[in-house]
Symmetry: C2
Subunit: 471 residues, 2 copies
């Protein structure tokens, strides 16, 4: 259906219904995204304070066939939050809906508005002596509504799942403007289709999440953190199996790190303290969250000893204090920043079946080498089968020199992922960056079903047009 811009007349209609306070001039930050692949073309910015205001805004947009772009923390990496073309949109920011509405410690549930910053949700849980485990680099600025809209992942997925697994209920404004009051605190409810999970991960194309009932967990009684040199990616996978045998689901983090990442840190972030005198080719960051009566260091040492007997591990650093733990985490957490400073030719957020990761890494090296003398930094959430597979220019060169090769590199890596029955967007989503990939690699029957669902719930196509599904 034809869409129309959010023009002055539309702004007048908004003011007439909602007053002057809800609209704001669009500042730059609503038109940018972290990787600068997409630049928003302006639009009308609304900052509603209640779900009823969101509903009224969407209803006005639906009546006038004006596109709507929902805006959370703006930290998404695939351009889902900015509309670079088409009629200028109504941008609905959730900034002013940031309350923690309620917390139910006995039920291990917290109800937050969509605009609540992830770190604030974590802190509210901690105040109640509970854990909200979603944890990712952008947690100081991303907002929980965006985390849910993109089904965010992060470093604790291995144990606690991604954003989808941490949500019990949603309040959503549908493309009609209707409000779905689905803030359920029920752990079990089998009364009909799973609208909640349909909304989660739909990246603002099926509705606007305005609040969520989130699952909390007991805080671990003891936390153990270590960085271990591993002989190979195979050895890392074997180490994970071995650790699982010993401590079950207590492994909250299992991150693979390649030497390239440590070398980048040395180059561009030399203040980061490196765990090993000589950077090993492969290492893993492991963290255990344990219950009462289990000593973290003992558990990690037992894992190390068993792994050492099998020749899986070399050097190891087991954190002996909170400060040492923070140092180990800084290594993992600053690798993306080092990558950004070095500047990649092409970055890939991929997953493949876990047992095929070693083969994928070998094949990937050959595939990339064919494209040119690139450096690869491959790291990430090994326990989830999710690697950040980033390709960099040779030392001494700038990424700009390889702009012309970017799409060929990306295509080569993504083709390989597809051959391995993997995903070209493991945790970042499709946004506007990967709509072509979805067309190229997605199951056609699934795509057809997705289009049918989009048409059923958003017949005018106003919700975040151009994201997930191509126009």
């Amino acid at each position: 259906m034809t869409l129309y811009p959010a023009d002055d007349r539309f702004a007048e209609a908004v003011r007439a219904q909602l007053g002057d306070d809800v609209l704001r001039p669009v500042s730059e930050r609503y038109l940018e995204e972290p990787r600068q692949r997409f630049v928003g073309q302006g639009g009308l910015l609304a900052l509603p304070k209640t779900v009823e205001e969101v509903s009224a805004l969407v209803r006005l947009a639906a009546d006038a066939c004006v596109p709507v772009v929902p805006y959370g923390g703006g930290t998404g990496l695939v351009g889902g939050q900015v509309a670079p073309d088409g009629p200028t949109p109504l941008i609905i920011s959730l900034d002013r809906m940031s309350a923690i509405r309620a917390i139910y410690p006995t039920e291990n549930i917290l109800v937050a508005e969509a605009g609540a910053i992830l770190a604030d949700v974590q802190a509210a849980a901690e105040d109640a002596e509970r854990l909200f485990p979603l944890s990712l680099a952008a947690q100081g600025s991303c907002r929980i509504g965006g985390n849910l809209a993109t089904n965010a992942g992060g470093v604790n997925v291995l144990r606690y799942g991604n954003a989808r697994d941490l949500c019990l209920g949603l309040e959503v404004v549908l493309p009609s403007g209707d409000i779905w009051h689905g803030l359920s605190r029920l752990r079990k409810d089998n009364t009909g289709y799973d609208l909640r999970n349909l909304m989660i991960g739909s990246e603002g194309t099926l509705g606007i999440i305005t609040a969520a009932a989130l699952k909390l967990f007991p805080q671990p009684k003891g936390v153990g953190t270590a960085m271990l040199e591993v002989a190979s990616p195979e050895a890392a996978i074997d180490l994970l199996s071995l650790a699982r045998d010993q401590v079950g689901e207590a492994i909250s983090t299992f991150e693979l790190i390649h030497r390239q990442g440590l070398q980048f840190l040395t180059e561009v972030l030399p203040d980061i303290r490196q765990p090993f005198a000589k950077p090993p080719e492969w290492s893993v960051l492991i963290e255990l969250g344990l219950s009462a009566g289990q000593d973290p260091s003992d558990m990690l040492e037992a894992i190390y000893v068993a792994a050492e007997e099998r020749g899986l591990v070399g050097d190891a650093v087991i954190a002996q204090s909170e400060a040492q733990r923070a140092e180990l985490w800084a290594v993992r957490e600053q690798i993306p920043e080092a990558n950004r400073l070095v500047g990649s030719v092409s970055s890939h957020d991929i997953s493949v079946p876990i047992s095929r990761i070693p083969e994928f890494i070998q094949r990937g090296a050959r595939v990339v080498a064919k494209q040119g003398p690139f450096r690869v930094n491959c790291f990430g959430h090994l326990g989830d089968g999710n690697l950040h597979y980033n390709v960099f220019p040779p030392a001494g060169h700038d990424k700009a020199e390889f702009d012309a090769q970017r799409s060929a590199v990306k295509r080569a890596v993504h083709d390989l992922v597809h051959e391995f029955e993997g995903s070209v967007s493991a945790e970042h989503g499709v946004g506007r960056l990967k709509t072509d990939d979805l067309e190229d690699y997605g199951d056609p029957v699934r795509l057809q079903a997705m289009r049918a669902i989009k048409m059923a719930l958003d017949p005018k196509g106003i919700m975040n047009p151009g994201a997930v599904l191509k126009n």
Copy 2:
């Protein structure tokens, strides 16, 4: 859209395309359901052997506008598996698609066809030294496709989640006959709408699940089981919190048992060995699944001592052998059979927010008493907020005497559940039994979205018509 019966002409068309082997006379078991509320009216029975055959069958049905009833193990309790009215359907049984297609121990994944019996899936996981945790009374005859179609629950939901949480990927024949090849082994894949969870719990109204990639887990190194007398439902909830503080997510089972259930066992199943000399008003069955280095008896005793100090628990039996463990489980598992032998006036599979359960139980007793001198057996998955709240005739009377009151009792209980923001189908689904409840209690915006999705994916309305959504 008008539907037509699966008549002789349609059977001919099936035989012409798929040969004589796929069709069978409809035996009684395909027309019955355990509670005998619905009786199937016959139809054409197909037993396909491959997903391609399922696809061809559905395509023929779609072309001829013939209703399709997917059939798993037939153990569902809400009549989703039988069509009592409307044009006689094509019944597609998955009996002959029961293979375990593959198992990936390193990845903790098993791929099973929809017709695999749940107990066989559990056994295949065990053979690979893994755990498939879905566990429920019907596991010897229910089939995994039906478990997924109904998002089955059971006794391990507290720790491992329901069927939805145990599935990574699906192969599904959509109402068009198209095959969605979604048997993903990926733990993370954010490429578009969550079709998997939309299919799970849709009770055969959006497609036929033909295979699933299922999550496996490490087998616990030690299992501890105990039955504890608790002072009240409040005390049971406090005990759960206390146990969680001590052992985190290791609690796999936390089941509430009321004296009424133990008395029913004494009456109708006297061979079941009772744990307590005098049945306590309230007790709980708790089971821990522990990792290496944790002694189950020590952990349970520590929980008991702490709970005893706070006055939460009275008598307790901690299983000291596998035989004792089986005895404790038999008590819990045979309560539904005892209920069946006694004969309920009305049974309710409900959930409410966990912290409100004590209040619900008090209010429920008053609400039922107003309806008559009934006995209530309230038991079940307390940790999930899911109670089986069953109402029985007074001692010495038969349920048939109260047939006229059944709907009033049900309505009174369900009204109360609704007032408590609960669900009238926590784990059994909607089927044909609870479509009216969905209309009465469901969020109208959500219902509208469900209808739009149904229309989008099944425009002719052939898939399990009358289930979940009223015709």
